[in-house]
């Protein structure tokens, strides 16, 4: 197998890894906000359910969750699992797992906001929604950016877990080629890929953090 074929195949995997990464962020960031509302809900039942959900998501391996989501249709409903479902299962599992982590980050940020901001907004007549989206959320985002950066960097590395249900992302392919060619080289390339990927993520996040430096 020539180097160009290896690189071409790894390139395919790379695209899948980036897709997993982007789609997970796309779904888990807003979903996390919704879950954090549930976690802080005045309704004990909603709060309790969300608490258990977060505990499970954080308390069990993501690899296990991936398998559970992938095999669930078959074991629960007897539906035959199609190959296209693999990728969908990865996105579902990653999104609901990361949403749980993001929810706790949002909650920490929201609860750290001084009550005075809410009171000032109330006196000025802002509605509840205006208060949250105009006054509170921008400040919360600034506060939680460092934690979000950490999670995002973990996510880059976690995309390799999709291997357990044979989704052809970067790591899966690197490992296959490595076994077939009895060569370390594909794995080294994979390592470099994750490193560069994370370097870019850190760079982007730093840029975003800078954007939020206009206030204190």
């Amino acid at each position: 197998m020539s180097l160009t074929t290896i690189l071409a195949q790894l390139g395919q995997g790379m695209i899948i890894s980036v897709e997993i990464f982007l789609l997970t962020l796309l779904f888990s960031l807003p979903l996390g906000l919704l879950i954090s509302f549930g976690r802080m809900s005045k309704n004990v039942i909603i709060r309790g359910i969300v608490k258990i959900y977060i505990a499970i998501m954080r308390g069990t391996p993501l690899m296990l969750q991936l398998m559970a989501i992938y095999f669930a249709p078959y074991y629960l409903f007897g539906i035959k699992i199609s190959t296209q479902y693999r990728f969908t299962a990865v996105i579902i599992a990653f999104s609901i797992n990361y949403a749980a982590y993001f929810a706790e980050i949002y909650r920490g940020g929201i609860e750290s906001m001084p009550i005075g901001q809410y009171e000032a907004a109330k006196i000025l007549g802002y509605s509840k929604a205006q208060t949250f989206f105009k006054i509170i959320l921008p400040q919360v985002i600034k506060r939680i950016l460092p934690s979000v950066t950490n999670e995002t960097i973990t996510l880059v590395k976690d995309t390799s877990l999709a291997m357990v249900i044979s989704v052809a992302e970067m790591f899966t392919i690197a490992q296959r080629i490595s076994a077939r060619e009895t060569s370390m080289m594909p794995l080294i390339i994979a390592g470099i890929f994750y490193f560069v990927f994370n370097y870019i993520v850190a760079f982007v996040m730093e840029f975003v953090e800078k954007k939020f430096q206009f206030f204190r």
Binding site: A120, K122, G125, Y126, P138, F215
Partner: protein, 251 residues
């Protein structure tokens, strides 16, 4: 009719009676100062009057429109919509400003008129700039709160409250968070407002200021009004507690 009418207001916090029976009425154009030792319930009173706290008993009305009242010993509150409408009557200036840190000075002042009162942007901006000029802050319009001194921040928060054109403005120790040398610039702004006959209810520890600016001073202690009257009456009070308190602060 009185602009502000509080009758027999009571408030407890977990068994601790903070306001025991407070009645205050304020006419349009009046400036009333509330003084008293810390812990006597002054902030709680302003928080009840501005609906940040729900009172446990008594009555609160603006321009004769009741927001909270008692019926057969039970507290009744105006509907949320009514409360919100009646709330347009008052503004509140906090001890620690509570400016929005991610808005510049201009936006802090003009955002509520735009977002809440739906004033057209251009008009709101024009009015905000006029207010800032009046309070000596026009050069700071595009600065962020963290770039201002405490005195400037407090003046911005006064401008922010005024931008909604309240009928009565409450102040809760507006200068207590400020270094002494920054106090006077804020007090001057309040004095100017008094000259323009703005109705104000001011909790303060600045005795000289209270004496100058107030039509009436209320001395509060342990959740009750101990004495109430013109500045002259209060400063010549025969009440020992009032004498002690004023004497202590004037030193």
């Amino acid at each position: 009719m009185n602009l502000v009418e509080m009758k027999h207001v009571r408030k407890q916090f977990g068994g601790l009676s903070v306001l025991k029976d407070i009645s205050i009425s304020v006419k349009k154009g009046e400036v009333v100062s509330i003084i008293g030792p810390s812990g006597s319930g002054k902030s709680t009173l302003l928080r009840c009057a501005t609906l940040l706290e729900t009172m446990d008993g008594g009555e609160l009305a603006y321009n004769g429109e009741k927001v909270a009242w008692e019926e057969n010993g039970k507290m009744c509150l105006a509907t949320q919509k009514e409360s919100k409408r009646i709330s347009r009557n008052f503004g509140l200036v906090f001890q620690s400003f509570h400016l929005f840190p991610h808005f510049n000075v201009l936006k802090n002042v003009m955002d509520a008129p735009v977002s809440v009162d739906k004033v057209p942007k251009e008009e709101a901006k024009k009015r905000a700039m006029e207010l800032l000029k009046q309070l000596g802050l026009e050069e700071k319009a595009y600065n962020y709160p963290y770039q201002l001194s405490g005195g400037q921040q407090q003046r911005v928060s006064i401008a922010r409250a005024l931008a909604l054109q309240p009928k009565v403005l409450y102040f809760d120790e507006p200068t207590s968070a400020l270094d002494p040398e920054l106090t006077s610039e804020v007090l001057k702004v309040i004095k100017d407002l008094a000259k323009q006959h703005m109705t104000m209810i001011i909790v303060t520890h600045e005795m000289k200021f209270a004496r100058e600016v107030s039509d009436r001073i209320i001395f509060m202690e342990d959740g009750v009004i101990v004495e109430e009257g013109s500045p002259e009456q209060l400063f010549c009070s025969s009440n020992v507690r009032v004498q002690e308190f004023i004497g202590k602060l004037e030193e």
